[in-house]
């Protein structure tokens, strides 16, 4: 069963809904990582991953294979789920997103690592201020190690369009970091 392609597994899962569990096993880590880097919090990532797969299970009977990878459909659900959560959270409290989304690194870390960790945190906070599609692009590129062509299949864009979006994303991120440094200097 593990050797089946996504399309084959989807067809089987329509007859035997329990097989949705195999699709879940295939993509749970990827969706978790997406939520982790969108929110920067382990608890939120787990909660949002669960919500994503419950919604996917509910919507699965209506899923249509339109030639995009199955995971692209999961990412769309994940995007909506995280957008809802961030919107609800911003309505409920005035706590800035960066404060909510500080990565909680589990366990003790040697002192020498602290500075690097802070730098990483400030970089990831800047990434989280980018528009969602640009965040997703960076997650797919750096966390999942995908090529521009693979990212294009997930985002529904051409390889050239992904390349161009990547460059614009780096420019925006550099500006974001520069603004942050200016703010700190004041």
């Amino acid at each position: 069963m593990e050797n089946l392609s996504d399309s084959e597994l989807i067809a089987r899962a329509r007859e035997e809904p329990e097989l949705f569990g195999l699709l879940y096993e295939r993509y749970v880590a990827q969706i978790y990582r997406y939520h982790y880097y969108r929110t920067g919090d382990v608890q939120d990532a787990e909660d949002l991953t669960a919500r994503t797969f419950y919604r996917a299970l509910q919507a699965f009977p209506r899923y249509e294979d339109r030639g995009y990878p199955f995971v692209a459909w999961l990412y769309r659900i994940a995007h909506n789920v995280v957008a809802n959560m961030l919107r609800d959270r911003s309505r409920r409290s005035a706590v800035p997103l960066e404060a909510v989304a500080t990565i909680a690194a589990p366990g003790w870390e040697p002192h020498a690592e602290t500075e690097r960790r802070e730098e990483n945190e400030s970089l990831l906070a800047a990434v989280r201020r980018l528009p969602p599609e640009r965040q997703q692009l960076l997650i797919l590129k750096f966390v999942e190690g995908m090529s521009n062509a693979e990212i294009g299949r997930i985002l529904g864009r051409t390889e050239g369009a992904v390349k161009s979006l990547y460059h614009r994303t780096l420019i925006a991120l550099r500006e974001e970091l520069a603004d942050e440094r200016k703010g700190e200097a004041r």
Binding site: P17, E18, G21, V143
Partner: protein, 95 residues
């Protein structure tokens, strides 16, 4: 930004440094095994409930309920008609 311009942009030292920082900060993380197992179990249980009430089963239940409802209403109308007729006949005999 055309191809050559964007390639040149990627070679700029500050951009090379930024991508190196991104590579260092955005590492693959894994969900805990306990979380994956527990959510997996919940989803399989939920999918079984979905199976029990799959669209064809739900359609069957709906058609069955509709048929029962129709039979009940026809029987109700017939009962009322019969009762009225009987009471009418009773009154005619008494008169």
């Amino acid at each position: 930004m055309d191809e050559l311009e964007s390639e040149a942009y990627l070679q700029q030292p500050s951009v090379v440094e930024l991508t190196a920082r991104l590579r260092q900060a955005m590492v693959p993380v894994e969900p805990s095994a306990a979380f994956v197992r527990s959510l997996g179990r919940e989803l399989v249980a939920a999918s079984r409930r979905t199976r029990r009430l799959s669209p064809s089963v739900r359609r069957g239940i709906l058609i069955g309920a509709a048929a029962l409802g129709s039979v009940a209403s026809v029987a109700g109308v017939l009962t009322v008609v019969l009762l009225r007729r009987r009471s009418h006949l009773g009154r005619s005999v008494a008169g």
